[in-house]
Amino acid sequence: MTRFLVRRISLIVVTLLVVSTAIFAITEILPGDVAQMVMGQGATEQNLKHIRETLGLDRPAPVRYLDWIGGVVRGDMGDSFVQKIPVTQVIAPRLANSLILAGFAFLVAVPSAVAIGVWMGVRQGSKTDHAVSVGSLVAISLPEFVTGVLLIIVFSSFLGWLPSSSAILPGTSPLTRPLILVLPTLTLTGVLFAYIMRMTRANVIEVLNTQYVRTAVLKGLPMRRVLLRHVVPNAMLPTISVIAVNMGWMLGGLIIVENVFAYPGLGQLLLTAINTRDVPLLQTLALIIAGTYALSNLVADLSYGALDPRIRLT
């Protein structure tokens, strides 16, 4: 177990190193640099040179990269090129906002998707099952920006119940205006719910056909007990990996959803960082995203072990 953890965590560190090198390399070939972006087209060569010197951009790329990595190891993520304050300060409130949004989406989507997935698996082939299957297929097929825009048309333009924009003043928490969270959460939930529901349903159907479930039914266990003790734990195994993979997808979905609703989260910040060539900011965001994904995969593997004693983590 310890060996497993050590191996996996060192693999994660290697992955993060690879990712950060790749991002750094990509930003190197991006045309235009932060000096150009800050000063605009009319900047004189002198001004550009001055900015590059103050930001340390006149040093060769490998030196800058090693310098940055050295900082990260000491817990210093560097200063944002554009805002001139530590990257962590720029990111912290945005990260909180995104976590709130993603957290709500997960809280809504996962339990309901698992519950309905199990139910539909048991009632396989019924009219409800067919209706839910078609509905979930449609939900999977809609890109987030289409779902978001449709929700805005229905709930803001037409019914007038909810705000169409989730923009908030910097420094305020979205929790003070919970209404603005409803539509973005719903948008994110849609696809997530559909994926997990379909996966759970398929697994439940598979498990229901196994010998051990038949045995459980034949020895007279009540159906509820068969489902809770025998079917659900076994059906959850593959579902968990789907949930973990969806973490990565959700981070991509956040970029779109935050853009649709003008919600000040990580996704919006990321687009800004790319557009302004704010390399330290971009690097840190990339590390957060890749790290989240890697960690959620690790958690998924650990929960495999917890749910199925046959799986030994080595």
């Binding site: 693999l11 290697v14 992955t15 690879v18 990712v19 991002i23 990509i26 930003t27 070939i29 991006l30 045309p31 297929l137 449609v138 999977i140 097929s141 809609l142 890109p143 987030e144 920006f145 289409v146 825009v149 449709l150 805005i152 048309i153 803001s156 333009s157 037409f158 169409s164 990565g248 997808w249 981070l251 991509g252 970029i255 779109i256 853009n259 649709v260 990321l270 687009l271 790319i274 557009n275 990339a286 995203i289 890749a290 994904y293 890697a294 995969n297």
Partner: protein, 306 residues
Amino acid sequence: MAAPTASPRMQLGPLDAATSIAAALLRALASLVRLALRTPAGRIGLPLVVLHVVLALFGQALAPYPPTQFHIEDHQLEGPSLQFLLGTDQFGRDVLSRVMSGATSLISVAAAGALLGIALGTVVGMSSGYKGGRTDEVVMRIMDAMMSFPSLLIALLVLTSLGPNPINIAGTIGIVFIAPVARVMRSSTLAVKSLEFVDAARLRGEPNVYIIFREILPNTLPVLAVEASVRFSYSILLVASLGFLGLGVQPPSSDWGLMISESRIFITGAPWVALAPAAAVASLVIGVNLLADGIKQARELPKREA
């Protein structure tokens, strides 16, 4: 056995190879259509997909107005009418014409990207799985690293650096798709490679390339078909999302994602400008997914041979 989507490894002239590949592809396509029509999902999905393919091929020619024609003075943001069936946008352009001519770029770029990704991913995954050992370990770790990143983010980075033209978009999607396709194809290669006919081919002294493409590949086709259909629908979603973020086909050509993005400003007053392209994207992806689902179900209906 299913018709082999032949590798260009045959000892024939290039023209013969081309015609036989084309014939094999057509046969495979025909059998897929027959399969699809056996399930309700396929019977809904196929017409939707065909409709979009027709739009992609002839949409521009069938559109009632040139998609970039302005009617600024008199017809800005008009609701649907007989003259403009789906209304007009902020420049007085006909929404129907813009939607009809937007299919071409989206579908061709998405399809090119998906095909590239499937081809590269298949080669990487199968070679890695077949080779095994240290090489396999290293290749798969690289694939893991590639997958630990949302594909949309990679696409954003690459396209802002290289510029959003169709070739770059398709190329980026192709690269992003290598890892997931390689994973799937590797595991199905592992399942097939221990079978006896592979050993037989190896003992005959066949080259590895022959064994991978002529012995193993045909036996992984069902898996590949499912994976390919998933990739196609992801690819469409990705291209549309990039368009929404302004990294798709550049104006004034029409792009469904961009149309929706631009329509947000006047969404309360003129929802049709957003609804039409939204319906177009939705019906395309729903069609592809239903078709894929239908084919998958139809394969499971009878006991499949071998």
